[in-house]
Amino acid sequence: MQKDFMNHPKQEEWLPYLDGEAAPETAKRLAAHLKSCPDCAAEIAGWQRSIQKLQRLEWPRQRHAVGSQFWPMLKWGIAAAIVVGIGFTLGRASAPKAGEIKAEVMAQVRGELRHEMNSDLLAALAGDPQSVTDTFQRQIAQELRQVSVKEREEDRRALAGILNQLQQKETTDYLSLRKDLENLASTADDRLQQTRWQLSQMAANSEFMNENP
């Protein structure tokens, strides 16, 4: 008895029992449990009262008999839906395929853009920003021209720098050469004087040897 009390049947077992559809063995076991378990007995009695209330519960009938009125209304609704559906389907069917349209438009747009870009680029490079097609591209051409001018200035500046450096180097080389030449001249003069002195000495010695053989 105590064992039965502790092992309450599963919740899903009660319904077939209440409907009289439980297997005989199960029905016997559940009936025995109800006798021994006051909690389950109270619970199931409550369920039975609720079932009775639910079965007796009256819901208000519809405000009007719908059968006769509903069909014409539904018929018109369905007719409208069918007309819209047919229109949509025909529209879809008669229209060219989206893929084809897309490809055609893309090719056309690409060609136009390429042509426009080429002419604009040429105009921009020719330094004529006014001949390009639209504002945006004119702006690009203007910027391109500015970049070109800037590049030329930079080149000129760089060239001037190089020339300046070359000039400075030439000046330095000239001064250095001049100094070297002066040094050389000076050295040559000293040596010439020394040679001259040596020659005069040799001449003097030669005269002395002739006078005193």
Binding site: Q11, E12, E13, K53, L54, R63, F70, M73, L74, I78
Partner: protein, 198 residues
């Protein structure tokens, strides 16, 4: 007299766009579908709209009905799915199922009871009905569905299992849970009413 089955009528609707056959189906099923929607929504206005929506869908999707299946199962499913959709919308808009803490007169179930009184019924029965309707409104969707199908429409456990696409054991479990819940709501209310009665 030979009576056309639902499936035969539906075959005529599906194959021949037979409006008369469809009208017969509507006539046969509009009341049960209305009742189910009313139980699920607790509101006759919405139930009426959902019933019409159900039959509109049946007609528009008539080609999808498989003739080897049962028409009523398909019909119940359509109606239930529409009810679930409406209940979800209601939840999103912050409307809650009936609760004791809410006592305003605009609540669907209260509105339902107030709009549709049964003048020829005794006051006690009316009051009891209202208590039971309110209790139904407080159950979760799953519980409300199985109780509406089992005790409202008297469907067999096997039929409910088929409609909800669950096992019979699960149906029994859900009904058990729902019965336990509604009993806990109903018993104190009904005891209190008896205590306050003459």
């Amino acid at each position: 007299m030979f009576s056309v089955t639902d499936e035969q009528a539906m075959w005529n609707v599906q194959m021949k766009d037979d409006h008369q056959a469809f009208a017969r189906l509507v006539e046969r099923w509009e009341e049960p579908i209305f009742r189910l929607c009313a139980r699920m929504m607790g509101d006759t206005h919405q139930a009426e709209d959902l019933k019409q929506e159900t039959f509109a869908r049946v007609y528009l999707h008539r080609k999808e009905f498989r003739l080897e299946s049962k028409f009523s199962t398909w019909l119940w499913r359509i109606a239930l799915n529409l009810c679930y959709g409406e209940l979800r919308k209601r939840k999103r808009h912050g409307e809650c199922p009936l609760d004791d803490s809410q006592s305003d007169d605009t609540h669907p179930v209260r509105e339902f009871a107030a709009l549709e009184p049964s003048p020829d019924r005794q006051a006690v029965v009316q009051e009891e009905n209202e208590i039971v309707r309110q209790a139904m409104g407080r159950l979760p969707e799953t519980g409300r569905t199985v109780l509406a199908l089992r005790y409202g429409e008297g469907l067999k456990l096997r039929e409910i299992a088929e409609i909800l696409e669950i096992s019979e054991t699960t149906v029994c479990y859900r009904i058990g849970v729902a019965l336990a819940q509604i009993t806990r709501i109903l018993e104190p209310r009904l005891t209190e009413r008896k205590g306050a009665g003459p």
